[in-house]
Amino acid sequence: MDFIYSHLLSLILFLPAVSALILFLLPSGRNSLLRWFALLASLIPFALSVLLWVNYVPEQTGFQFEEQYVWYEAIHSTLHLGVDGISLTMVLLTTLLTPLAILASFSISDRVKAYMMLFLFLETGMLGVFMSLDLLIFFVFWEIGLVPMYFLINQWGSANRNYASLKFMIYTMGGSLGLLLAVQMLGVRFGTYDIVQLYSLWNSLEPGELFLGMSVSTVKTIAFWAFVIAFAIKVPVWPFHTWLPDAHTEAPTAGSMILAGVLLKLGAYGFLRLVLPFYPAEAKVFAGALAVLATAAIVFGAFGSYAQSDFKRLVAYSSVNHMGFVVLGIAAAGLAAGTSDAHIAMNGAVLQMFNHGLSAAGMFFLVGVIYERTHTRNLNDFGGLFPLVPVYGGILIFTSMASLGLPGLNGFISEFLVVRGAYPVLTVYTAISMLGLLFTGAYILKGIKSVLHGPLNEHWAHGEHQLTEINTREVLVMAPLMVLILVIGVWPMWILDVINKTVVALF
């Protein structure tokens, strides 16, 4: 037991990758064996994360469960892991969504082994980003996660997958280029990649000091934007979002769940872990610019979503809309750093990350459920399906309402907190965003209306095309998400407590 407690993070981090290697040795043809093994293998990290959550002490500031191993001594980079309230929440989200995504993939029958292996590798990649306390290791995991996702979209995606997967890859790699260069610059300047040390070293430079032939403040401004662009592409913030609808639409269902549920959070997490602590001054100066982009994401995301006739694209644009609130919260926190407004906005932003993970994964899964049965995602082909599939309809409405921000469900809490925190400092942008929220309601209702209500499309009512009800396995995927959506909506304190203590200490 002692071993487990002292290596909790590395166990959670590497177990999926090790399981993937074991999976490689299992016989290829035995699909159900492969599926169940992958599912069980992904449940262990989840169980360990629950253990992590229980043993985490919110009152204690700083990082917990720290581990440090030698990795690349020559350039002073170590495998330094640790979690605080923000990363703990994200670790829990990741380890929760991965088993659900794997369970959702039980309907995949093409090259099951490779598929499951990629998912498990992806989990390690994502967890690594959330746990790293070393800038180089952060970057390593940041990039590694791209590869499995690329192949998941490229190999198991739908018609336009080649275009979408390459666009995803090039966008993200191109975006990370600035990050890579900035990381190198920091490493060369300070001779360490340890994030905790860099927090203080980087901020202790005199603004007027010369550095690379420029003043420190100029260098910081450039580096700030290099970081921001890398993370903004991942979030994605308008106008860097165009890869997202393509990637989401073409990815297999479980791929979209993880993409929306966790990968987008990597970008937002980058803002929280690196941008704000590294560049408090720049974040204050450029908060307005970030807020403009966030507002644009909220408003245009909602408009874009409303305009879609493809159900999956509609949900994809809704991610742009919802992640806009995370960035708005971050902008507000940067501007008002140190005040209670900043803390409220930041609490909202982190909780919104978690909540959007739950509801977006759920929505993409539900789109996948109906797509598997009808082989179409076109909203005009549906209509009036509620009487045919009442259980599915109920679940869809429930999840949509969470996405819409209905009080009593989780989305309301986090969006309210963001708006409450941002209003005093970014009044105009917040007000415009609230108008955007109106359109959130519009597109969600449009989605529900086109699928469930209105005149029944007889095509699905009988014969070979008769629509079948959501099955037990699919309900099992949705159940944990729905429970959490409701629990957070009714009693958010259990999670906010953990987030809040960290946020207050950090910002």
Binding site: V70, W71, Y72, E73, A74, I75, L136, F139, V140, F141, E143, I144, V147, Y150, N154, Q155, N162, L166, M169, I170, M173, G174, L177, L180, L181, Q184, M185, G187, V188, L212
Partner: protein, 504 residues
């Protein structure tokens, strides 16, 4: 006197070549078995030596041997490895071993992959080439370094002209040989200048590089001779604008020779440029590093861009080698700790990676009889091992973390930051271009639907091929995950170079 491990490793392939030539040419499998045994033995011997060096935490030149050769002129057969050359010797062992494996071929009369035409002579020449390469990496005597250098270049001509791709082999072999001979002659003149000047300074006739390091060349002398010496060797390293021979040579060469050529011979150029150019003429290196850095930065981006527009798989890899060797030169040109460290690791990493690329391309070409990317497709279902290998090679090439390419490229860029950050920003463009062409080509060749023309007659690779692919992938992954198995060793070599450069 130590056990003469380095001489054994160096001359074993040559001995094997002689034995192979004694076998009747009809007995192909005997020839192949001898070749494989010799290659495995050589690899194991050096792997053992490598581990001794690494685990023993050794520094400086080790396993040194010295025999008189022509004492009157100060020429001796002096061997030894340090932290820079040891990984390269290991690399040569790996490429030789896997090169023999993939040349073994498939005797099925429908496939006829690998080397089917006169394997006896082929392996004999290949092994002479390998001896030459080993010799350059372990020589501590400047004359011997040239001696082995020419031994390595000459069989290349025959291997390409006889076993190469029918369409361009004469042209490519001629072009390659002329380029390299001109380069080495220029360097040789520089080397002779060093030899005589050292004699005038110290009164001792010696080609021993450890002596020449201390010969006290004047700054004016170094500034004058650095460029010819460095560039003469760097031609073989494929430095822009003298890279032009290299993609042609890669394309025309038979698979195992392409592997040697891109995997090892280009390192020979970079290594000799470093050892003779930078280490013997450090002041000159400081004077001219800006020029080398400019050339290298252009090579990095230009090579990647040209690779991007290729439709012939082998040309694509050839130009990607120009780009990656540009990174090695970029690292060398920084003359600082990180840059040189990265260059050392990159030489190994790129060698393994490009050998893998050429091996897989050869396997595909032997079976599909085309290398044109638009004519290929669907290989992942037919040859899964080759596909996974190529993908891993691609990820290394992109500098994806978790693989050896990242471990190598990251310090190079850090080194460039220490010198001129604009170059780092410029060179980093190549990362995205590389990602773009690697990913699109992987998708096209391995995952698009199998063209009708290829249906039915393209089969999977042999067990030998698979072993080669797995061996090469193994090294790229292990170094990527655990840099400690190579980096500390390269560090000791880098420290030695920095000492010659005067602190820094």
């Amino acid at each position: 006197m130590n056990f003469p491990i380095l001489s054994i490793i160096t001359f074993l392939p040559m001995l094997a070549a002689v034995v192979i030539l004694a076998v009747p040419s009809a007995r192909k499998n005997v020839v192949r078995t001898i070749a494989l045994t010799a290659a495995s033995l050589d690899l194991l011997l050096f792997a053992w030596t490598y581990l001794q060096y690494l685990l023993g935490g050794l520094q400086g030149y080790q396993f040194v041997e010295q025999y008189n050769w022509l004492p009157a002129l100060g020429i001796s057969l002096k061997f030894g490895v340090d932290g820079i050359s040891a990984p390269l010797v290991l690399l040569t062992g790996i490429v030789m071993f896997t090169g023999v494996l993939i040349s073994w071929g498939d005797d099925d009369k429908h496939v006829m992959a690998g080397i089917q035409d006169r394997p006896r002579e082929f392996f004999a020449f290949l092994f002479i080439l390998a001896s030459g390469v080993f010799g350059v990496f372990v020589s501590l005597d400047l004359f011997m370094l040239f001696f082995f250098y020419e031994i390595a270049v000459f069989p290349m001509y025959l291997l390409i002209a006889i076993w190469g791709w029918v369409v361009t082999r004469e042209y490519a072999a001629m072009k390659l040989t002329l380029y390299l001979f001109v380069g080495s002659v220029v360097s040789l003149v520089g080397a002779l200048a060093m030899y005589w000047t050292a004699y005038q300074n110290t009164g001792v006739l010696s080609f021993d590089m450890l002596q020449l390091e201390k010969a006290g060349f004047s700054t004016a002398f170094q500034n004058l001779w650095f460029l010819p010496v460095f560039m003469g060797f760097a031609v073989l390293g494929g430095i822009w604008p003298f890279h032009n021979w290299s993609p042609d040579g890669h394309v025309a060469a038979p698979t195992a020779v392409s592997m040697f050529h891109a995997g090892v011979l280009m390192k020979l150029g970079a290594f000799a440029a470093l050892r003779v150019g930078v280490m013997l003429l450090p002041e000159g290196a400081k004077e001219w590093s800006w020029l080398i850095m400019t050339f290298a930065a252009i090579a990095v981006v230009y090579g990647a861009y040209i690779a991007f527009v290729q439709t012939d798989l082998k040309y694509m890899i050839g130009f990607s080698s120009v780009s990656h060797m540009g990174l090695v030169m970029l690292g060398v040109s920084t003359l600082n700790y990180n840059g040189l460290l990265g260059a050392g690791v990159q030489m190994f990493s790129h060698g393994v990676m490009t050998a893998l690329f050429f091996a897989v391309t050869g396997m595909i070409y032997d079976r599909a009889h085309t290398r044109m990317i638009p004519e290929l497709g669907g290989m992942s279902k037919i040859m899964p091992y080759a596909s996974i290998g190529f993908i891993i090679g691609g990820l290394v090439s992109m500098g994806m973390p978790g693989f050896s390419g990242f471990v190598a490229e990251f310090p190079i860029f850090m080194g460039v930051w220490g010198r001129q950050w604009l170059v780092a920003v410029f060179a980093s463009i190549s990362i995205v271009i590389t990602a773009a062409y690697i990913m699109t080509n992987i998708r096209k060749v391995f995952f698009s639907p199998l063209p009708e023309k290829l249906e039915g007659h393209v089969g999977d690779i042999t067990l030998m091929d698979k072993t080669a692919v797995v061996t090469l992938c193994f090294f790229m992954i292990v170094i990527g995950l655990i840099p400690a198995i190579m980096v500390p060793m390269v560090e000791t070599g880098v420290e030695n170079i920095l000492r010659l450069l005067g602190g820094a």
